[in-house]
């Protein structure tokens, strides 16, 4: 029960009034930005990263955790109340939630989403706290080759395993990997691909790339769509609460969603979208009211929403214990850690235990705050959905450039913002996934270093990569995750995979 003691210590740390204030600020900002249409969790986190630059590490990371959870909550409100074509195809909550809102049951839909997110967030964060120490112990026996194999697995799951084309996913990934080469090689100090520009020596910033591709790219994409699909907000009639039937139909779905979501997030097996899709499938199969599915079944909101949040907490397991980001959101969070010179991984639990456990504890606190923010105060957030599109995107772009200017006001960064923004637009237009670029950028150099370390240890012998059962097994799983979906697509069974396409996180 050592985890329990650490968690209590963490709670004591997080109860500091100043840190509580940061957490509250984080969840409020996260919900506020997450609610805005067109902004998913990844962009929320990327846009709000600069807000935390001036603070000390503990305050900043705690605020950041609040932003992360708040963004997840806010996103579900948007998908229930808005039917944004082309954007929410992968957000499963919208399938049933929007139907419920249309039928005037938006209140119960929002309530089951908020309470389900709370239940899932609570259970998954506790699971994170109890699993983390064991994974840390496991991670200590990991050598470079195991890390390298894990990273290969993460590359495949984020790029090629889901979505409608492995080629497109891998293209995105390789663009990210290519961009990652710019700058100084961490092992030899050799400058690569900087073309004599000193501003490029530090490489390309993950936040610049993420903000450019998600925010600028999205703004360009929306602006260029001429037939401005007028988005209609559904008014919620009645109170945001659930009847006894709603409760009895929801609670099992929450627990199942959590049980599906957490492991998927915790293993490098894809992001929250995949978890919510699987949960939706499970609920559809297990429901006692199959006729209601497709017409606003409450289980179809409760399950995926819980799965979504459980997976979000799950991705923190590899991120905190191994330093391995498996989604775009996690990649940006890793960049957030690195701004303070903190490298998440097994060592962080030893060198900065107060910080890590304070962070995990403040996730629990943020979760409680979010329940309060999202049930009684939901009507305030809904007002944000009414902001006209032109003010909304004008504001988004202002904030997007603010982050870049605040960190490094060099013209080179702003030119990158424009170029990567145009690239993000083109990729959206042609259906290339964006998350693999971001993950490739941050994981690429890490994978290269681990590979070269492993080879150095083995004096250049490539068979060292498969010399332990663990590394060989991980590489085999990665290969299967690449090949099996390709065969499925070739045999015309790709429809399922493209539905699970991880759009943003």
């Amino acid at each position: 029960m050592e985890a329990f003691g650490f968690l209590l210590q963490g709670l004591a740390t997080a109860m500091d009034p100043m840190l509580l204030l940061y957490a509250l600020l984080g969840v409020t900002l996260g919900t506020m930005v997450g609610v805005l249409p067109g902004i998913g969790p990844a962009l929320t986190v990327a846009l709000l990263l600069p807000v935390t630059y001036g603070l000390d590490p503990a305050g900043s990371l705690i605020m950041f955790a609040g932003i992360y959870y708040g963004g997840m909550y806010g996103g579900s409100t948007t998908s229930i109340l808005l039917n944004t074509p082309g954007e929410s195809a992968s957000i499963v909550t919208a399938i049933e939630g929007n139907k419920m809102a249309l039928a005037g049951r938006g209140g119960p839909a929002l309530a089951t989403a908020a309470i389900g997110s709370f239940v899932a967030g609570l259970l998954a964060t506790l699971a994170l706290a109890f699993i983390a120490p064991s994974v840390v112990k496991l991670a200590l026996i990991f050598g470079p080759r195991e890390y390298f194999a894990l990273m290969m697995l993460a590359f495949v799951t984020v790029s090629a395993a889901f979505g409608d084309s492995a080629m497109k996913g891998l293209t995105s990934l390789f663009i990210g990997l290519a961009l990652a080469l710019v700058g100084i090689d961490g092992l030899t100090g050799q400058t690569r691909l900087a073309f004599g520009m000193p501003q490029l020596l530090d490489g390309i910033e993950v936040t610049t790339l993420a903000v450019a591709m998600f925010a600028v790219g999205e703004a360009l994409f929306v602006a260029a769509r001429i037939e401005g699909a007028d988005v209609k907000v559904h008014a919620i009639k009645g109170a945001v609460r659930m009847t006894a039937t709603d409760w009895s139909r929801s609670w099992k779905a929450w627990l199942r969603g959590t049980a599906i979501g957490f492991p998927i997030g915790a293993m490098p097996a894809g992001g929250a979208d995949i978890a919510s899709f699987l949960s939706y499938g499970a609920e559809k199969r297990l429901t006692k009211y199959p006729a209601e599915f497709g017409h606003g079944a409450i289980e179809g909101v409760a399950g995926p929403e819980a799965a979504n949040n459980a997976a979000a907490a799950g991705t923190l397991v590899p991120l905190l214990t191994l330093g391995l980001p498996t989604t775009a959101t996690a990649a940006i969070m890793l960049a957030g850690f690195q701004q303070f010179g903190l490298q998440p991984g097994p060592l962080l639990f030893v060198t900065a235990p107060t910080l890590v456990w304070g962070l995990i504890a403040s996730l629990l606190i943020a979760n409680v705050m979010l329940l309060v923010l999202n049930l009684p105060l939901i009507r305030i957030w809904i007002k944000l959905l009414m902001i006209p599109r032109h003010w909304l995107y004008a504001g988004i772009l202002l904030f997007a450039t603010l982050g870049t200017i605040g960190v490094n006001p060099s013209p080179v960064e702003l030119v990158q913002l424009t170029i990567f923004g145009l690239m993000g637009y083109g990729m959206r237009l042609l259906n290339y996934p964006i998350a693999p670029v971001v993950v490739g950028l941050i994981l690429g150099p890490m994978a290269e270093q681990q590979l070269r370390r492993a080879l150095s240890i083995a004096q250049g012998d490539w068979t060292t990569l498969v010399a332990t059962p663990l590394s060989a097994g991980l590489l085999a799983v990665a290969a299967l995750a690449l090949i099996v979906p390709m065969l499925m697509r070739a045999r015309g069974r790709g429809a399922v995979l493209s539905q699970v396409a991880a759009d943003e996180d």
Binding site: P50, V51, Y53, G54, L55, M167, L170, T171, F174, I175, L177, A178, L181, D185, L187, T188, Q190, R192, L193, V216, A219, L220, V222, A223, A224, R225, I226, E227, G228, P388, R389, H390, W391, Y393, A394, G395, L397, L398, F399, T401, L402, I405, G406, V407, P409, L414, V415, L417, T418, G421, Y425, L429, L430, E448, R452, R453, L455, S456, Q459, G460
Partner: protein, 158 residues
């Protein structure tokens, strides 16, 4: 709009871009003197490998481009894109001489214009106020260092 006569031009264009990027990486990778050391591979290996991957992907694009026909893309509003890019470039060039507030207000107004809001006389003041408040909050409270111009110096530091 001759969709039938263009068998997936996009795929070929992307293939060309990927091949060019791949070639660039391989060229740069080869230019690095390879002192392999114990690992047997040095700093030049990754650029060469990733460049090779990009060229393989370019070939895949050619292959699919030959087999499939172009998907009908919805007509794109290029003027809107022009407005946003103009806004970004205006901000880039005016940031140093005029400061954060004015440069960002211009970006704000251009983006609103791109989204179909034509009243510049309203969008510009709204952008000025918003950017000014944002400057105050981030430069003052959150200790971000934003470039100041005469507006900021006059009011916040005056």
């Amino acid at each position: 709009m001759n969709k039938e006569r263009r068998p997936n031009g996009a795929a070929f264009a992307i293939a060309l871009g990927l091949a060019a990027l791949g070639a660039l990486l391989i060229w740069q990778g080869l230019a690095i003197p390879d002192k392999g050391g114990y690992a047997g591979i040095g700093s030049g290996a990754a650029p060469k490998a990733i460049g090779g991957g990009l060229i393989v992907l370019a070939l895949c694009h050619v292959w699919t481009g030959l087999r499939s026909s172009s998907l009908p893309h919805p007509h794109q509003n290029w003027a809107a894109i022009g407005w946003i890019v103009t806004g970004l470039l205006l901000q880039l060039f005016l940031l140093k001489p005029l400061g954060f507030t004015i440069a960002s207000a211009l970006l704000f107004a251009c983006t609103a214009r791109a989204m179909g809001y034509k009243k510049l006389q309203i969008a510009l003041p709204v952008g000025l106020v918003l950017a000014f408040v944002v400057y105050g909050v981030f430069d003052g409270l959150l200790k971000l260092n934003l470039p100041a111009g005469f507006v900021e110096n006059l009011i916040y530091r005056g």
